[in-house]
Symmetry: C2
Subunit: 459 residues, 2 copies
């Protein structure tokens, strides 16, 4: 039978600890963490204490930081030590970064001096760098070892390493010489030297490299682990593929949130407080609202044009909406291509030329469709509408369609160019999208519209 | 020195094949594929023939389908065979799916009967299912083997397997019994039975499971490989972590494109033809343009209100814009939570209650900020504007701010609820965002605005 959160609570209430211990210890750490996040806070330490030592540490890593904090507060020093000594240094650092200072002190006080040293090493690197996400637990081999000596070393030390499948070969000064996989070693003769079977063309990253770039190298090449070296080319740690996956998916989440004008956060929606959600959303709404003062001003200054032909007002939302959608289509495409490194600054003119052609054909199709729609729907189908099938109506349709075409072309080019310029100037392109592109495209579409209206209708 | 595309072309022009062979064979398959994609088509087969057999096959897999097709056309049957016999069955299927039928026939004709059987097995599954992305090359062990027998088997057959680090234990009918890693085996005594060290609580997926769900299980648990079984629980293949990473990142790309009203595609922007980009964008632009007929109609039907107070027109874009932004903030958040499985239909009321509170505080902040802005900027700072600081101006400001508050609240609730309902009804929630939510929120914001205008100003 599937273990559920209700079942766990029931077992605890009925003090069936032995049964619950067996049930829990059969599950996977990730599933246990998910189950424990659903039971009441006061049952959490009881259930957690039933886990076997290694499973307890693995489960602890998977829990959210609130539950971790609650557990640490309930732990005796011995219990805390038995969890922390099973943790990899990078997981320990992740946990410490989320904890209040008093708990961090307690965690470090119970840790071994070796663990403390590792944590201090890792804390020196920015959390956004490769150094900040690497782990110190990797298998290091010497080039002069034989394959069977290497296996002996893996058997002796491997249990504490985050991965044993990719081993790193260094000289005695820890300078990175090569990489060798367990697969290569298993398929090689036991008395061959590591030197003879290692791959020397090693792809690595530096401790101060941006973590997103590190994750990308990593995923491009399908590695299980990526070595991280310092400025003297000495191996200091490795990034493992599971951390790379997390970074990649966090990054696209962030891009998506920024594009929707939300300050990014990686807390799940239902766990985020109303105030935090409000705080992430309101600055952008305010900024966009204030920036639309421009559109209001433009409309006011063409008051006479609008008064002369009331029908013109009715098409403002369609025009601004289509302009906005056209712009965001190209900006989102370009922003993603930039963040996937498919595009660089030197491609600017290729991008412009592509958008010029795409937008030209979009503009033609939209203008024709809109002209037909205005005649069929607005003039013929809907009686008593602001425009009818006469000279004035056709002139309005002409103005709307011309403005539409010009707006679509400008919007697409602006939407494609601004993110590339932003990146060149060192800004995050995704942040540009909403406030700047929207404001510019909105203002522009109105100016174009009123220009054509003045020239064609009011002349 | 770094090998570049120019260097390769130069070497070929000067017929320095031996040097180029050495240079190429030092590189990584992914880098070679990238370099070869930049050299002229007529040099491609020459450069490719310089690669060592295994490297050639690994490079081939990484190339884009155009270059693959070009190479296959230039291959003799023997050359084709030497590439295809090195390919894993899942890569072979990926390649075949992109080729014209005549080439597929040639590829299958040169393949061994075993490969042909594997490819035919895989082609039976939908490309969107776990069966469609799995590979047939995995290490299978029997429970009665000892650890050293297992290592013998891995050494004998491992070279052709996509991963050897996770081995699957089955009975003689291939029914999945357990899983054992090379790490477990290395750390165990050589004469222990696989039966005694295998993990029996195996997480697996079915051949007809959706590939996105399979990738998610996989990434949640940090696996290197996930076993795929048929309806009789017989192991048929495995999905490896690199394929899962691709699926996860394609999925968030797709969501992002759909949210920007673009038909999703995974071809890089610069490689997509103008016509393909146009085709991906124009249907949504047309749909959104036509749907804004409603907003035009609403404006027309309140012509008298607008004529009575020209100032009212100036605030339409701000109101519709803020409504749209508020709606997309909550819809994007909810859509991502749905696709990350953080939200389900049963959470509908929790979501509504959360959005009611968030939107209430957003509405208050926006309405106050806008009232202050209208007095300071629109009335006092800008002379000769449509509104001034008098009774009529203040009434307009009141109408705008009340409409703004109500619109923001409605937009946020609609933005959060519609995606959940869409998913419940079996639609892709991301597809809902643009056409439906925008149209509804736009229409609603105008109706609310004109309702307040009629009630407060024209009464």
């Amino acid at each position: 039978m599937q273990l559920t959160a209700e079942k766990i609570v029931e077992r605890i209430t009925e003090k069936q600890y032995a049964i619950l211990r067996d049930e829990l210890n059969e599950e996977n750490p990730i599933d246990i963490a998910a189950l424990l996040s659903e039971i009441p806070e006061n049952s959490l330490p009881v259930a957690f204490r039933l886990l076997a030592k290694e499973l307890a540490a693995e489960t602890f890593v998977e829990m959210d930081s609130e539950s971790q904090e609650l557990l640490i507060r309930s732990f005796s020093d011995n219990e805390l030590r038995s969890v922390t000594e099973e943790l990899f240094s990078d997981d320990m650092v992740d946990i410490i970064e989320e904890m209040p200072a008093s708990l961090v002190k307690r965690i470090l006080a119970t840790a071994t001096s070796e663990t403390r040293a590792s944590v201090n090493t890792l804390l020196r690197y920015s959390p956004d760098s490769a150094g900040g996400i690497m782990t110190l637990e990797y298998v290091r081999l010497l080039p002069t070892m034989t394959v069977s000596q290497a296996f002996e070393r893996i058997k002796r030390t491997g249990v504490d390493k985050e991965t044993i499948y990719t081993c790193y070969v260094t000289d005695t000064q820890k300078r990175l010489l090569g990489v060798v996989t367990v697969k290569d070693m298993l398929l090689a003769e036991p008395d061959l030297l590591i030197l003879d079977i290692m791959e020397t063309n090693v792809i690595f990253t530096y401790t101060d490299e941006d973590k997103e770039s590190a994750a990308k190298i990593f995923v491009d090449y399908g590695f299980l682990a990526l070595p991280v070296v310092d400025k003297e080319n000495r191996l200091v740690g490795i990034v493992t593929y599971d951390d790379a996956i997390d970074i990649i998916s966090e990054e696209s989440e962030e891009d998506m949130q920024i594009m929707a004008a939300i300050t990014p956060s990686d807390t799940p929606y239902l766990k985020t407080s109303v105030f935090s959600i409000w705080k992430a959303r309101i600055p952008w709404l305010l900024l966009l609202m204030i920036s639309s003062t421009f559109t209001g001003l433009i409309i006011t200054s063409f008051e006479d044009a609008l008064a002369a032909s009331v029908a013109l007002t009715a098409f403002i939302p369609m025009l601004m909406g289509t302009g906005g959608n056209s712009g965001s289509q190209s900006s989102v495409t370009v922003i993603r291509s930039l963040s996937l490194d498919e595009l660089e600054f030197k491609d600017l003119f290729r991008v412009v030329w592509k958008e010029v052609r795409v937008s030209f054909f979009c503009a033609i199709a939209l203008a024709i469709a809109n002209f037909v729609k205005m005649i069929l729907i607005d003039m013929l189908l809907i009686k008593g509408n602001a425009i009818s099938l006469n000279r004035e109506g056709l002139l309005v349709a002409l103005v709307v369609c011309l403005a539409l075409a010009v707006t679509v072309i400008c919007a697409k080019i602006i939407g494609a160019v601004l993110p590339i310029l932003a990146k060149k100037l060192g800004f995050d392109p995704a942040v540009m999208v909403n406030p700047f592109i929207t404001t510019i495209v909105d203002a522009l579409s109105l100016l174009v519209y009123f220009f054509f209206a003045k020239t064609i209708i009011l002349s």
